[in-house]
Point group: C5
Chain length 354, copies 5
């Protein structure tokens, strides 16, 4: 679970407010995918240097998609070009951030995590994404060149939905919506696997069922740690009544999103409860199995240990042992032995042991 | 538990605000059961095309009962005819919705789930129903032609209660009331079955008791996930002070309903607690049984294993073994054996083992 | 636990607002114990017909004590005579109600449950009682002719305390107080029995201790379900600032009552915690017992099974078995056997097994 | 846990507002320790009759320390002399009260419990103390002549701290502070004992460890039930903004006290968590022990039971049993037996069983 | 866990408001590291006597770093020199304080704990640090000459970041930030160790795993007890809107810090959940092991106990035992024995026992 805070430890004692990258470098060179658009036209450029950034255009929405956060100098240039508050910039570069929403005079700041499920390792990974937006532009900051936003990009291209007619606030919503959609996809993918576990637990066929239940529990816990602050973030955004988000046209979409996140969180809680129930089932199964083993042991022991004693008695070498001489002793002995065994079996049968 | 969100996954990345059906098609062709009524007259029509919808009449309450949600074009027509907000319409068509109440300028929006208990499979199914209402009309949207509302329909027909004299707000209440009544019916039906489980657990007669307890727990969890948001919905509706709901005449009924839902939720919690207690009982029963098995094993072993040893001793072939030659040895041997066995039995009796 | 909602199920789909009795008929014919009083005089009449009810008198408090709720016609007469709101009347007649307080223009409405403990069956039963009060009168509705209020009645008779000088609000308080007193009596009666359980659990003497613990848990849960809404009820009543309750003279008494109910709820929680602790104790006791049984088994087995083997060895019929011929073999054999047994006993003693 | 409400049960049905003593009489005759003081002089009198009480003096703080609550007549005299509200007086005399703060027009009312730990019985006892204060005087009511306040009394005597210069509000604070100090002392005393339990649990040396853990849990629960309402009491007092407590000079002290009580409650929670952890540890220890016992049993059985069989085979009396005649059979037999035993031991060793 | 309140016990009954040191003396003589600075110059002095303290300078921030709290006289001098409120001063000297924020007219007061992890003993220790700040100065009070603040001190020296340009409020933030950084470092250090435990639990290799899990749980609980009040402290500070903290320039930093503390608390909760999961895993492992042991025992017993009986039968000395005389009896006997054994093995194999 030490997937948070990792590098923060190493930078302990650095002055707050100074730009330091905390995380793992995921791209070679940072770059910006710059887009500006309105209902009529869309312009796309990939720039490696902030100097090359086109001049902001009136009546157009600008989207600065910054990829790669490790280069402090580059980030400082971006920051000064877009007038980003140092505290926001510091959080952008610390990839161990908890999802949050903050209002500054010049812009809004949103940071959260995207999730990716590595099925073969039963492991969920996270990547941080931050949003800086005001009336004119949206700047997003990613660690790597991900593909979660591809549908949004193609919608921009194809001028589909209201996305081209709306400003940075609606664009922000659309991007957040695709992140949350991805949360839900991930949760439900895990959910289906967890549903399948029930039969395995009941049949007790797989050996490492316990390890699997534990792994799912751990990952759901991790997801919850990521998603819960997102609900907080959205609640804060909604109640902030920021001027950068149009209250009439765009806010209802964010409210809708909040409901979706609540739904996602409840699903995670449901699956966690299921897993806990599976554990109980597993343990009950173990107890039942133990009882069955004990019954087998007891039935065999209780039948044959006494019989062995009787055989032992007639194996003694006492000189005066009258039964031995009687002709039908041996057959009577067998008769008694068999009846004792059958009697015991009846007794255990009546006790409902088999 | 993957009974939520199912299709959302597949539509990941669709533009928010676009009408897409998320769910399973349950009727062939969508249609509308149109009713308008006031205290004096009631008119009922079944239309397949929005074009055929009669013109709204003054001083009459209109109820558009839309059945079948999968046909996007049909839904768009309904939506434009009734001036429904796109965000509301999107939620109507997504059957994986969490129950919620939303206020729009033109109308109110309510969505929740109806529940159905399939007793033979120990499985609760849900069907989504949405309400759009303003001063003039109520539109309800269902996936299939259900029968939960039949009593309401017949009350409308028979002009019973205040339902014909009241507007869409009271009609909404009446329909919600019948949904909640159905929740309670379902919960109490399950509750009676759960009550019956107690004896079975105590007697430990049935083999798959654990599987049953688990199934009930899972379904109660599912019910809770459906019903809890309904309380929220009602609380939001009550505190919204919407103009579409008459505060004096109709709001008290919604408050009453909220109390009923609270009661229902508490009942579910009670039954969940009961099931958890049953699990504890079951495990205690298992332990008791294990102890009993162990006692049988131990009594038999502790009595006969030593005796076998002594029989074994006199079965040895040592040439000089004085006891063997003494005439009454064998009988003394038996005497000693029997007293040892009786002694052991007394010891275990005193230990309260049987 | 299906002691709620019972009949509601059967009346599913009835129009809300219509008077239907939901519950079990407990008296043959409904009747009203009518009292009016002030500091100087008290008048008591038992009437079977609302027609016979005396005319309300100025400057006198009227108390209509309605007993028996099943007769719809009778209830309708009472309702119209006292101008009771239909929603309140509906709740009066539904004995599966959750305790609640509601304000109407004409009167206040309170409903809650009285509890009775049937000790021999370890079962708590409830009876619903409702209050309708305004400036002039108090009407109480009971299912049966109970006796919880007898002390209040005799205080009225004996003109003791401030009860004769105060209006319906204080009378309501006095009656609620006696109901809450009864809760506490019941909880503490159960509490004493639960305290006694501890020793039984520790001594593990009684066989059905588990069944008892479970029964107490279930009943405490039921009590909580009844009493918790009463606290809510009182909180709502206090914060309502209704004109029907004198804020200066009478409200402090209701506040006092709220504290008492809080105390009662905390006591129930305490006893529930105790019962859970007992369960843990019980299981620990079971484990200890199991360990003890296993020790006995292991000691006997570990000592005598090896010895039996050695006896077996000298019972073999090998022709060349030198030890058999040696004169003192048998005695040496015994010596070795005894030392082995003693050795084992020392080993187990040192392991602290007995 | 029936240390609350005890007598309330017996007085069920008494009119609310009437003075009845609910509790156990702890002193023979009630009396009042009367003190009045200001910065310059201190006067102390012990009076048995309210008639003898000195006339209140201007510019002096009066402290009426009433000891013994059982004498109704005496209490009524005190009540009328000091103009105490009947509802407050009733609570003073009911020693089963939950800690609370109430504001009356004439005075404030505070009631709470002092705790005493009887170490030898592992039992915490409580004694109720009530405070009535206004601008002029403080009246405290105790069941018995306790000594918790002795340090305060001696500080009054020695004119130490600001206590002599301040009014009844600061005196109240000082007394409450000493009660809370005593809570903390008690909690930490128990805490040290609980800390010591850990080793005992891990070593599993003491037999009645379970009984002890349970007793501590029960007592901590009792303490929590006493202390938690004290935090509420203080919160209510602070937010009441009563005129009887100087907001500038004295209120900060009460706030400080609230923090202390919060700290105390957290400590109790911590110790409760510890005890729960100990229980888990204990059970794990039991399981480990059980496993160890089972291993011993299994090792002995698995080695010697097969060997016994082989010995038995060569003890059979078949006439044609070739091995018996071979000269070295016996030695080979021993060889095989020993190798089998050693083999088994290796097998169990490799399984890490010993 | 008695790492709180330790000395408070001994000082029970001391007048509140009097200066007493509660804690352990950690330095020989108390002293003050005095600094004053602005953007241009920095002055540092170490003084042993408050008399020697330099006169406060205009337009400079003063930082009084008091080390050693045990000397009452020294503390009184500091207190009167800096005009510290007695209640604040009392809390400074009581090292068993819960973290808190308090506003006084003259200054703000903050107290909290620094944590140190002693890895070899699996033990977290705490040291109390208090802050008194107003517009002019910051006074910090430590028990010992710690090094957590060294990075801040060197930043002051090197004039790095905005620390030299800002007042006591930003300095307070910087110091708190370094304390919180240290919390996170500690939590993540423990977290990595806890992550490592999972494999050990699954492999069940280490003997004292249970003791370790318990120790980590205890320490995380302790950390939580320290860190949770810090979040409260920061929330109170933020909502206080104190004039001593510049709302525009400095408050956002404190808000940032609050988010960090929330993150830290969530991490602790995560690790606690992990440990609880490990315990469950451990117990499951124990059960599995027990089952395995039981299987071995049962397989051996169930195979060889019956065989022994048959061997015993043919070891009896009945005179008429026909099988004994038949030539191939012995070989048939072996054949039957081996088939029985093989049959049993098949049976257990089919039961999936090995």
């Amino acid at each position: 679970m030490a997937r948070f805070f990792k590098k923060r430890i190493e930078n302990q004692g650095m002055p707050p407010g100074s730009l330091i990258f905390i995380g793992t470098q995921k791209v070679e060179t940072p770059f910006i995918k710059y887009r500006d658009f309105n209902a009529r036209e869309l312009n796309l450029e990939k720039v490696l240097d902030t100097e090359e950034l086109p001049q902001p255009k009136k009546h157009k929405t600008q989207w600065y998609n910054v990829i790669g956060l490790h280069d402090t100098q580059f980030m400082e240039k971006v920051s000064s070009r877009l007038h980003i508050h140092p505290l926001a910039m510091e959080d952008v570069m610390n990839t161990g951030q908890r999802a949050k929403f903050e209002e500054f005079n010049e812009h809004l700041f949103i940071t959260l995590k995207m999730l990716r499920f590595q099925e073969d390792e039963l492991m969920v990974n996270s990547e941080q994404i931050s949003f800086i937006l005001n009336h004119d532009f949206l700047a997003t900051f990613q660690e790597a060149d991900g593909d979660t936003f591809d549908p949004i990009r193609s919608r921009l291209q194809r001028n589909k939905g209201m996305i081209r007619n709306s400003g940075p606030d609606y664009l922000t919503y659309a991007l957040l919506d695709s992140i949350v959609d991805n949360y839900i996809y991930l949760i439900e993918s895990m959910g289906e696997k967890i549903d399948d576990l029930e039969l395995k637990v009941l049949d007790n066929t797989e050996k490492d069922i316990l390890r699997q239940i534990n792994a799912y529990k751990r990952e759901l816990h991790f997801i919850l740690k990521v998603v819960k602050p997102v609900r907080e973030l959205l609640a804060n955004l909604i109640k902030s009544q920021s001027v950068f988000i149009r209250q009439e046209q765009v806010l209802p979409y964010f409210k809708d999103l909040e409901g979706l996140v609540t739904h996602a969180i409840e699903s995670v809680e449901t699956y966690r409860t299921l897993l806990t129930d599976y554990l109980t089932l597993y343990h009950s199964g173990m107890s039942t199995k133990m009882n069955d083993i004990m019954k087998v042991l007891t039935i065999f022991s209780a039948i044959f240990i006494p019989l062995s004693f009787f055989a032992g008695v007639y194996g003694t070498n006492f000189q005066n042992l009258p039964e031995l001489e009687y002709e039908y002793s041996y057959f009577i002995f067998w008769g008694v032995m068999v009846s004792m065994a059958v009697g015991m079996l009846f007794y255990f049968k009546q006790k409902d042991w088999f």
